[in-house]
Every structure is written in C-alpha cells, then in structure tokens.
C-alpha cells in the first residue's frame, strides 16, 4: 500500500501545481479579454496641450482660419465692442494692456472669492416656503442657508442663484478638474480620486498665475495635488480631505484663516488703491491676493458619515451660513463672490454617481457692485427662444422647488475668466452666464441695444473659443467621431451664426433688438449643442478592441467548457500538465507572432488603434487557446457528436435554465436594475423545488434532514433579500433597509443587537455542524471557541462603540452647548477612537495572523482515539469509526474521518470569513453570517441529495436482484463504492453557489453602481487615510461575498468525503472549480457583451457599464481567490496534510 500511496502523492503534487497553472492561465485569459474590452469601451479623452494666450483671442474669419485680431479691420457700427477695443490697444505692451482692461475682454471685477462647499445640494441652498416640506421628515437640511434668500430678496441686482448641474462622475477630483478646465472628465478617471495628480490641461488657475494674479487657497488638499505650484506659497493652507469621519478639522481651519485673509486683502487694497490701476506686479512682495479659494468639506463629510438628514447637517449648514454672512460683509466693491457646491449628494449622503440629486448643486454669485441690469426681461425672452429651438439637452429653467435657472457646472469657467479679464482656458466647453454680461457697459449707459451688443460679443468670443477647440481637437485626433460631428453639425451652425453676425455688423443702421436676440440665441444654442455632442461622444468606443475583448472572453469560456467535458470523460487520466504546456507554447508563439506582425506589417494597424501591447495580448490569448483546442482535438478525436440526444435530468435543465436567465438578464436595463430580486427568485425556485422533491424520499430521517435544511435555506435567502440598499432606479419599489433609515448611514441599534447575538450564534452553529461529522477536533475547537468568537466579539464591540460615538456627536449638536461640551467630547472622542481602533486592529490580527498561522501549522480536524476492541463495537462501526485497524486487541478510531477534507477546509473558510466580517458594516456583518449559515445549508442539502440518490441506487440494486444485476455487481455495497458518479459536483450546485455570491453582494449593502461603494469602511481601524490599507479594506468590503463563495467552491467536492484512495478527489475538485469559473465567466461575458451592444443606449453609463465593471472585477477576484487562496493555499495544505497523516497511520 505504501509505494502506491507515495506514487499517488507524487502524482498529486504534480497535478496540483499544474491545476494552479491552469487556473492562472484562465485568469490571464480573463484579464486579457477584460483589458482589451476596457481599452475599447472606457476610452479616455485626449488632453490637448494647447493653452489660450492673452494676446490671441480666438477670433475666426469666414474661412475658418486663425486670425490675428490686430490685422483685421473691424468695421463695427458700434464702438463698445471687444475687437474695437483691441484695435485701440498697442499689442506690444502686453502688461500694460492687461492691467488696465483685461485680456480678451475688459475685466469687470478685480478680485474673486471662490467658496466651494463640498456636496452643497441644490435643495440645501434654496428657500423652501412650503409648509409641507418643512414639516416633513427631512428638516435637518432644509432652509438652513437663509442668507441666500435674504440677499436675493434685499439685493436682487447683486445676487444670483442657479441650479448648478455637474456632469458625472460626481467625485470631487473630477469636479475640480471640470471647474477649472471647463472640460468633461471621463468616466474612467473616477478611480483616481484617491491620488490626485496635477492637471496639465489649460485651466483657470494656470491662467491666473501666468498673468501675475496671486491665489490664496485654503481647504481640501486635493487642490494642492492638482495644482502643486500655482498657489501662493504664503497663502496656501491645505487640510487633509480623506478623513471622511472628521467633520470639523477642515472647516474650522478655514474659518480661522478666512476672516483675516479677507480683511488683509481689503486693507492692502485700500492703502494702495492708486497702485492697483497702474501696476499689478508691485504686489509680488505683499500678501495681497487676487483670487481666494476656500474649499469646505464639512457638509460632504457629514453626508458621508450620517446622511443628510441628521442634526449634524443642520449644525454644519448653520456654520456655513454664518461664514457666508461674514464673507459678504467683508468683501469690497471690486470683488465677486462665488459660492458653489462641486456636486450634490444622494439620499444617503454619498456621491459619485449620476443621479439627479448627486448632479444638482447650487451656485450663488454676489458682488457689492451691481451684477445684473436686466430691467426689461430680455434674458427670459432669450431663454424662451433658446428652449423653443432646443430639441435635446437641458432646459434653461428648472421647475424643481419653484422656478430657477439651471446651468451646467462648467459654465463657471468662461464666466469667471471673462469677469476677471483672463483668457478662457483652451479646452473649455462651458458657455458664459449671460446674466452677468448684460450689465457691462462702459459709460453706465443702460441702453438695451448696447447691453445686447455687449452680450453678443461675449457670447461670440466664447463660441469662437469653443469652436477653435473643437476644430483643433478634430485636427489632432482625426480618427475620432467628434471630427465628423464637428464638421457636419457644428460647422454648419457656426457658419450660419457667423454669417448672420456679419450681416448685422455690416448693416449701416443700429441693429434691432429682435435680431440681436436671435443671434445671441444662435450662439448660445451652438454652445449647448457642442456640449451635448461632446457629452454624448466623449467616450469614444473602439470597436476592434471591444470585439477582440469579447472574442477572447467567449473563447476562454469555450476552452473551460471543453476542459470540463474532457475531465468528465477520461475519468482516470486527465492532464492539466500537457494542457498547460500547450497553452504556454501557444501563448508565447502567439505573442511572438503578433509582435512580428506589428513590427513588419505596420500599416495593417493603421485602421485600428491597437497598441503593440494590446496586439501582443490579443495574439498571446488566441495563440494559447488555439494550442489548447489543437491539444483537445488530438487527445479526444474531436469532434465527438453524441450518438443520441443525451438525457438531461431536471436538475441539469434547471441549472442551464438559470444560466440562460442570468446571462440574458443584462439584455434589459430593468432586469439589470432588479438583478437582486431576480437572484432571490431563482434561488428560491431551487429551494422550493428541492423542498417539494424531498417528499418522495422514502427514508424518513433523510427526508426530514433535507427538508429542514431546505427550509433554513429558504428562510436565509428571504432574510438576505430583506437587507438592501436601493439603487436610484429602483426607488418607488424599494426601501433601503441597510441603515437605520434610507437617508442615513448610521446603523440601527437593533442591527447592533443582532450583530452581537451573531457572535454567539455563529460559533455555536459551526460547532454543531462539525460535531455532526464528529470532526470538532484538532484545530477546530481552539479556533472556533477563541479565535473566531473573539474576533466576532471585538468587531461588534467596535461597531457598538462607533455607533455610540456618532450618537454622542448628535447629542452634542442637539444641546448646542458648544463651549462646555466640545472639550470633554474631544478628549472623550480621542481616547474612544484609540481604543476602538486598537480593538479592531486586534481582530484583524486574530484573523490574518493568528488564524492563518494556526491553521497552516495544523489544518486537520482529526483525532485518534485508541479503544479496546470489542466485538460489539466492531459491529456498530457505522457512524463514528469508519476506519478501524486492529492492533493487538486495540483499535484506532479516527474521529472526523467521515469529513476529513470538508471540516478542515471549513475551518479555513471561517478564518477568511472573520476577516471579511470585520470589514463589513453591522448589517453587512449580519448578512455575511447568514451567508455562512446558508452555505452550511447548501452543503447539507447537496449531501442529503447525494445520500438520497445513494439510497435509491442501493435499494434498486437490492430489490431488483435479477440476473443482469448479479453479473454486474456482486454485492450492492461493492458497486456503490466503485461508482462515485453521484458524489461528483453537479452543475446545479455550482450555479446555486454563484447565485448566492451574487445575492449576498446585494445584501451586504452594495449595488452595481459606483455610488454604492462604502468608502467609509476605509477608515476602520485607522485614523488617517492610508492608501494601501484603505483601498484594500474597501475592496474586501465590496467583494466579500464573492471572495467567501469562491473560496467555498472546493467544499462542494470536499464535504463529507472520506480519504479514500479510490475516489478521484482531485479530478472532482478540478471539475467543481472549473464549472464555477465557467458559470461566472459566461455571466460576465454576457454583461460585457450587452454593455457593448447597448453602447449608445440611454442607460449605458447608469446601468450597463457599471454592471460590466462589476462583472469584470468579480470574475478577476474570483479567479485570483481560487488560484491563490483556494487551490494555492487551502486545498494544497489539506490534501498534503491528509496524505501525510494517513501515510503515518498506515505505517
């Protein structure tokens, strides 16, 4: 027996290593396919390096060539125009030219104060007069900024309030980019929020700096990473932005600095009033600022931490209100104030996505000088005309909460630039805000005609800048779709407007108001259209890359499918080794081949945008897959068509049916939105079907066992379906139950109580489960009783403390007794925080270090018991002692022999479970515990079904003891040991496991949207943002269900399997794992395919693209977990140890 076993062991090592290689190959294929697809699907915008220059306004003549403004003889009937002004200037003396009047347009204001209140949602800023709104539940954030309304009422000509619509993604970094460059940062940039990088595009801050204006900055340090050198060194006060749970540090820091800085600016200005006009550069040594930027984060952090509807929000907004009052009081006449939100927040207080609540923030403009001179409602007439010809795009007015003007966020860029007399940044797509430019008039002559001419000039300047950008972009990137549109649509519009302009210009009379209005409308509509086209086309899909990515994914699924069928057929010999070799050779050959192609036949790639790297990946993937298929054909005499249609059992039918449903889910946006419900539906179908099928089992004990576990399974699924975070599209049919209320991110006390009971319940359940198969030995009691229980208790203690912490904060706010409370609260908080973090770090250590080390030193749950041999005991060896070896009157009973693999692997699973549990919020922790319970139920269901089948077969054999059966099987037990077919994992089991992983993804408070990522878990156990720790915490939190369930795949094979050398354990393991990858591969491929199919669909960025991203990340995580953790570590360890263990025993 010994040599055979060592031979076995040798084989096992070889096979195992090659299985890991095989899975790694699949991982690479998936990675390659997803990479290629992503390259084509989520393209980045090209950044043009052009910069606008002060001396070169972008004025175009009719031939669409660049014009030097100074060479053109403008023959205007009116004298107040920009070009006319330029004509008078001496182009050589630039600084002088700038200082007095501004670059492209005479400056209206000398200084600007830009206050950004992060996540200032539109409804925070506007007055709510309706009593109903005030009495409703959401009163903590309404009417908390009364200053806006007061100013609008008392000084209507000096203040303006807009609804301010951002573009997705609504993350601060992207918004800041948009706010300074006037561009549309693309979707893929969203990931770089954690590490801001310097902007190299033309932007406002650069323009300010180039013209010698001094910028004071305070607040969010993202700005400093975006503009490392632009701010004035002495007046830059960045504060760390990523400590989301800290509401006050940033704001208090700014508030301390803001008042003095404002006053400083005024004093200097008053004393050197005469100098201001003569020479700007004289200020280089003083601490005078021209631009003051303050970025408050408190509101945003409050939203992240508590949600908008929380007393802390009321306090925060009150503080902002006071701050705005102070600022407005302190500024001088030459200063314009912009108060804005960079984005809104959703009902939970988070942002990042593209729901209306996240996109809509507010912009408030104020100056002590008169801002608007619209006495005759010219503008509303213009907007009416504009809305009348708009076929698409947004209306000028929003009816939400009354009638307000709605403007895109990037409109700030040209407006601010022209108000302060600097060039509009080259890449800007925004349009000027007409309200403020109607006023400008040199000699305070409020002639409507002149006002309109002025506005027309400003708009035309803006249009020409945008048109210049569009033309330049299409020149630099000729292969993009934008060029086609630019040429066909925009050029026509532009030419039409320009010809009308020239007509008007050349007419000898003073133009009619109506004509001027029409022309302005034309220009504004050009700007709107450009923005619309750019928004729609910005993600430039690259079809060849998309198709090649999909091809790689589909053929990888095909390869896995072929490998599974092969393993089923050749039950004894299956060669991962040769497969891997073939794949390797094919892959390298393909890579070299494609490299050769790209080297020598370079023109081939001109039509495509394949880079060398892309092409190599594509070649390698296909090379390896072709090699695989060649190998398959050689070894299997491919193609083998089944002689007759194979009989499909109902279970197989159901699994394939589920696979089809799950894949075609993504063909419809509604089904994709309600994927969580559909997952529940499918899972329950399986559960109920099993439940009712159980009635036919004749053995009462087995029937009851199966029905009990199925019942628990049904219950667990229903409970898991209860916990959810609604995505925006689900809203009328869904209420979020993950937190205490849909508008909060605080967990309810009941959740915490249940979480605490879970710390008792889970170890108990695991203990009972392992005792079922007598495998509560070895490492198990030690880990479950102390390690796991301790870890769970520590983690729930952390959450309880965290909740108390947030409650205490709210009580402080309710008391409003700041002086008394703040100090004690601060001390209390600090020690609390330290203790809290210590606890949770300890729990992390328990799971990652103690658990792993303990388990890897002795993973087995086996125990030897030496008993005296009795005849009676030998007879009753049914349950506990499967293996008995006679040893001179003594027998060795191996406890836990029945489930030697499963129990040990399950203990390993609980270690990872603990790690994932810690990263979950309270409700998520509960759900993860239920997931573990449901996993147990599923394992027992599968086991009971196998037993039932076994019983049936045995009975059939014994009952129909005919001649033909006798010849086949001498005794029923013998045939049963030889036939392991029923023990092998069915596709249905794997499908259910995958569906469970999908279900618990939703139950742990996630959705297939970017906004559902629980960023705040990045601060568990740490006080400051740590790039590595925070991002891995968030990753673990988001993907915990996928990790847990892909780790559980080997259990399908291992559960209740005795270490029998005849049993093809390894082959079965390969099959389960490959089937799991196969199922998820197909589902992900389908989501990828449908995302590409619907790439022009209205919902693509809301529904299909996020689902594709989730699918891709899922698949890669799954591959990686299976490769590295599951077969690379867990299975390897167990199989090695068990082989060793039994070798020792048999010696």
């Amino acid at each position: 027996m010994h040599p055979a076993r060592s031979q076995n062991a040798n084989n096992f090592y070889k096979n195992h290593v090659y299985l890991i290689f095989f899975c790694f190959w699949i991982l690479l294929l998936h990675l390659g396919g997803i990479y290629l697809f992503t390259r084509g699907f989520l393209l980045t915008r090209f950044v043009l390096d052009n910069h606008s220059e002060c001396s070169k306004p972008p004025l175009w003549d009719n031939d669409n060539n660049y014009n030097n403004v100074y060479n053109i003889k403008y023959d205007y009937p009116w004298q107040n125009t920009v070009a006319a002004r330029f004509k008078q200037k001496d182009p050589k003396n630039q600084s002088n030219f700038f200082n007095s009047d501004g670059c492209w347009y005479p400056k209206i204001f000398k200084k600007a104060v830009i206050i950004i209140i992060d996540a200032l949602r539109f409804d925070f800023a506007i007055p709510h007069l309706n009593k109903q709104i005030q009495n409703s539940e959401s009163h903590y954030y309404l009417n908390k900024l009364p200053i806006f309304n007061q100013l609008l009422k008392t000084q209507p000509s000096n203040s303006l309030l807009f609804q301010y619509v951002a573009d997705p993604p609504t993350t601060t970094l992207q918004r800041l980019k948009a706010l300074t460059t006037g561009t549309l940062p693309t979707f893929i940039d969203a990931g770089s929020n954690f590490a801001g990088y310097a902007i190299d595009e033309d932007n406002l801050i650069d323009q300010f700096k180039n013209l010698g204006m001094k910028i004071a900055f305070m607040g969010d340090d993202t700005w400093v990473s975006l503009f490392p050198n632009q701010f004035d060194q002495n007046m830059t006060h960045p504060f760390p932005s990523f400590n989301v749970w800290d509401l006050h540090t940033v704001d208090n820091g700014i508030l301390n600095l803001l008042g003095p800085t404002l006053k400083l600016g005024n004093d200097k200005k008053d004393s050197s009033l005469t100098q201001t006009h003569s020479d700007f550069s004289d200020y280089s040594n003083s601490s005078q600022w021209d631009i003051l930027i303050a970025h408050f984060l408190g509101v945003d952090h409050c939203g992240h931490r508590y949600g908008p509807d929380h007393p802390a929000m009321a306090e925060k907004l009150g503080q902002m209100d006071d701050m705005i009052r102070d600022v407005i009081r302190d500024i001088d006449d030459n200063t314009v104030v912009f108060i804005m939100g960079d984005h809104g927040m959703d009902s939970k207080g988070d942002h990042g996505g593209d729901s209306d609540e996240e996109l809509e923030s507010a912009l408030f403009m104020y100056s002590k000088k008169r801002l608007i001179h619209d006495s005759t409602n010219i503008l509303s007439r213009i907007y009416q005309k504009l809305d009348a010809i708009e076929s698409h795009g947004s209306k000028s007015f929003t009816k939400k909460f009354g009638t307000w003007r709605s403007i895109p966020q990037i409109d700030l860029v040209p407006t601010l630039a022209l108000l302060l007399g600097i060039p509009i940044p080259f890449n800007n797509l925004g349009s000027v805000i007409p309200e403020v430019f109607l006023s400008y008039s040199e000699d305070n002559d409020l002639n409507i005609n002149k006002q309109l001419i002025n506005l027309l000039d400003v708009t035309r300047l803006n249009v020409e800048q945008v048109y210049q950008y569009i033309i330049e972009y299409s020149l630099q990137q000729p292969s993009t779709e934008l060029s086609k549109d630019a040429i066909h649509v925009l050029r026509n519009m532009f030419d039409h407007a320009e010809s009308k302009y020239n007509l008007l210009k050349n007419s000898p009379d003073l133009p009619l108001i109506d004509d001027l209005e029409d022309l302005i409308v034309l220009y504004l509509s050009f700007l709107k259209n450009t923005l619309f086209i750019c928004r729609r086309l910005w993600a430039q899909f690259d079809l060849p890359l998309i198709i090649s990515g999909i091809c790689v994914l589909i053929s990888s699924c095909l390869c896995i499918g072929l490998h599974i069928t092969r393993n089923k057929k050749n039950s004894i010999t299956f060669d991962n080794q040769i497969t891997v070799m073939y794949a390797l050779i094919g892959g390298s050959f393909g890579a070299v081949f494609s490299l050769g192609i790209i080297k020598f036949i370079d023109p081939l790639t001109i039509g495509f945008s394949f880079s060398t790297f892309d092409f190599t990946i594509f070649g390698a993937s296909f090379g390896s897959m072709i090699a695989f298929i060649i190998h398959y054909i050689i070894s299997n005499s491919f193609p083998i068509l089944p002689k007759k249609f194979p009989f499909i059992s109902f279970d197989t039918f159901m699994s394939i049916f589920f696979l089809i449903i799950h894949s075609f889910l993504f063909a419809s946006n509604s089904f994709t939105i309600f994927e969580d419900r559909i997952t529940v539906f499918l899972l329950q179908t399986f559960g109920l079907f099993t439940f009712f099928k159980a009635f036919k089992i004749k053995n009462k004990g087995l029937r009851l066992k199966l029905q009990f576990f199925t019942f628990m399974y049904l219950l667990a699924t229903r409970i898991a379906a209860y916990s959810t975070i609604c995505r925006e599209e689900q809203i009328p049919y869904c209420t979020s139950t993950f937190y205490i209320s849909p508008t909060s991110t605080v967990s309810s006390p009941l959740t915490l109580i249940i979480l605490t009971t879970m710390t008792v319940f889970i170890p108990f359940i695991i203990c009972r489960l392992l005792k079922l198969s007598e495998s509560y030995n070895g490492i198990a009691p030690l880990w479950i009783e102390f390690g796991l229980r301790g870890g769970l208790i520590l983690s729930s203690a952390y959450w309880i403390m965290d909740n108390l912490d947030s409650n205490s904060t709210s009580s402080v706010i309710v008391n409003r007794d700041e002086t008394k409370f703040n100090t004690t609260d601060l001390i209390f908080n600090q020690s609390w925080k330290w203790f809290k973090n210590f606890i949770v770090r300890f729990a992390f250590g328990l799971s990652t270090i103690v658990g792993t080390v303990a388990w890897s030193t002795s993973p087995l749950c086996l125990e030897l018991k030496i008993i005296e041999t009795d005849e009676t005991l030998n007879n009753s060896s049914s349950q506990s002692a499967e293996k008995q070896t006679k040893h001179s009157g003594k027998a060795i009973e191996i406890l836990g022999y029945k489930n030697a693999f499963g129990a040990s692997y399950f203990v390993f699973l609980t270690i990872i479970y603990l790690l994932l549990f810690i990263t979950q919020k309270p409700m998520g922790g509960i759900m993860l515990s239920i997931a573990l319970c449901q996993l147990i139920c599923l394992l027992e269901i599968i086991d009971a079904k196998r037993n039932a089948y076994e019983l049936n077969v045995v009975k059939k054999l014994s009952s129909k003891d005919d001649e033909k059966y006798v010849s086949n099987a001498s005794s029923s037990s013998n045939s049963y040991t030889n036939n392991f077919q029923h023990k092998s994992t069915k596709f249905l089991d794997v499908v259910i496991l995958s569906l469970l992983s999908s279900l618990y993804f939703f139950s742990t408070g996630h959705q297939a949207t970017l906004s559902s990522i629980q960023w705040s878990v990045g601060f568990i156990g740490i006080e400051e943002l740590n790039y590595f720790i925070s991002s891995s915490l968030v990753t673990l939190n988001t993907l915990s269900s996928q990790i847990l369930f892909s780790l559980a795949v080997p259990l399908l094979t291992f559960w209740n399997i005795t270490p029998n050398s005849d049993y093809p354990l390894f082959q079965e393991l390969t099959r389960s794992i490959l089937m799991y990858i196969f199922y998820n591969g197909i589902v992900t491929t389908s989501s990828v395919f449908w995302a590409a199919f619907f790439k022009r669909h209205l919902m693509v960025w809301k529904v299909f693209a996020p689902r594709f991203m989730l699918g891709g990340i899922n698949l890669l995580t799954m591959d990686l977990v299976i490769c590295a953790l599951s077969i690379g570590f867990g299975c390897w360890k167990i199989m090695k140890e068990i082989t060793k263990y039994f070798e020792i025993i048999y010696k």
Partner: protein
C-alpha cells in the same frame, strides 16, 4: 387494497402503505368527449369568474375583483369536480343504475368525505402559497390582502382538484407531485393542470420588474394572469396527454 397504489419499488419497512384514494380499479378508459366537454366548461367558467363576473376589473382594484373571483371560482370548481367524479364513478361501473339520484348518492358515498376535506386542504394550500409568495420576494407586511387573494386564487385552481381526489393522503400527493409520476387518468388530468398553473404563476412574475409602467405590472396581477393562463394551457395539455398515452405502464402491468 388495489394493486395500483403500491409504488413501483418494493416498500421499505418504515414506509406507510398508502390507502387507496378511490375504491375502483376499473378506470381504464379516457372518455375524450365528456372530459373535453367538462374541461371546456370549466375553462369558460373560470374565465368568466376572473374577467367578466366581478364588477370591478382586475386592473382597477385587484383586491375587490379577486374577492368576487375566488368566491365564484370556488363554486365553479366544486361543480366541475363533482361532475368529473360523477363521470369517473359512472365509468367504474359500480352503480349500473343510472338515475341521477343514485349517481349523486354514489358520489356522496364515495367522495363526500374528500370534498369536505378539500375545503381545508385548499385553505392550507392558500396559506402555503402565501408563504411561498413571500419567500419569493412578495412584500411580507404590506399588501397582505393582495398576496392572500392571489394565494387563494392559485390554490383554488391548483390545489382544489387534487384535494378532492387524494384527500390528505400524503404518500399519494408525494408520488404524484413530488415524484412527478401520475399514473391513472384522474391523476394525470390533475397533475398537468396543477403543475402548469403553478409554473404559469411563476412565469407571470417575469414582467413585474420591467419598466414599462403599465397598470398590469403591479403585484399580484401578472401572477394571477400567469396562473390563469397556465391553468388553461395545463388543462389542454392534460387532455392531450390522457388522449395519447392513457394510463401509465405501471398500472397496466399490474392489472395484467
């Protein structure tokens, strides 16, 4: 005890031998015309019950509509099942005297108890369907009446006929529905109808998540309609199955 009620395999000691569900063993023939007539009558009547009799339409107020529907459907089902069993019992040839009075007497004698039991079995079935609906994701607390009436409706269509036939004999239920092996003509007629009704209700749920914003997408209307359509399809399928395949092989073998 009749032969047919023994399961195909030999029984294990702990297994309860199922009692016969009706006394006859001679139902061999399928009467295409009379069965088709009964089925068509039932389909027409049940259509009337759901769509035409209630004064409030299903789309306007499912609760009030289903109130009336379930009430009337109960009588329809009672009538149809009675006539079916009259047909079976007559076919059994137990009573050669064909006077209506004698037939009714025969029915009450043999199946009276079954019909009485069928009442609470149907109610129990409704309770189970209610639970199942909740398990599948129907709101647990809100819309209780909607779910309850849906469950009652499906139960009347799917559970009442087998309840009349099998009473509360667990093993027969298990054999017909859990094992999926109906053998005699009544069993087959019942089996396909019931399964199709449940599957229809299951399939009906598909349209609920779609974003078409139609009034008929509101729970439980699609599932009620699904169950109704499934019932029609199942009834027709069961007729065809009985017409073409007749009794199961097991029964015929045993009879020989």
């Amino acid at each position: 005890m009749s032969q047919r009620d023994k399961p195909s395999s030999s029984t294990s000691p702990n297994e309860i031998v199922p009692p016969p569900f009706h006394n006859s063993s001679t139902i061999t023939k399928f009467h295409p015309i009379s069965h088709t007539l009964i089925t068509i009558t039932q389909l027409i009547l049940s259509t009337l019950c759901l769509l035409y009799i209630p004064s409030t339409k299903l789309l306007d107020d499912p609760v009030r509509c289903l109130n009336v529907t379930t009430m009337t459907l109960f009588f329809v089902q009672f009538l149809i099942e009675s006539s079916r069993w009259l047909l079976y019992l007559q076919g059994d040839g137990i009573e050669t005297n064909k006077s209506i009075k004698a037939m009714l007497k025969n029915l009450i004698e043999h199946k009276g108890e079954n019909f009485a039991h069928a009442l609470w079995i149907t109610l129990f079935g409704a309770f189970m369907f209610h639970l199942i609906a909740i398990v599948f994701g129907a709101p647990a607390i809100d819309d209780v009446l909607h779910t309850m009436l849906f469950a009652l409706y499906i139960s009347l269509l799917a559970i009442y006929p087998p309840a009349c036939a099998f009473k509360n004999h667990g093993p027969i239920w298990a054999r017909v529905f859990s094992d999926g092996s109906p053998e005699s003509i009544p069993e087959k007629l019942i089996y396909y109808t019931t399964v199709a009704t449940v599957v229809g209700a299951w399939l009906g749920a598909i349209v609920i998540p779609l974003d078409w914003d139609r009034p008929w997408q509101v729970w439980p209307i699609p599932c009620v309609i699904g169950g109704f359509v499934g019932h029609i399809v199942g009834s027709i399928i069961s007729l065809f199955v009985c017409y073409f395949s007749g009794e199961g092989d097991n029964i015929q073998k045993k009879r020989e």
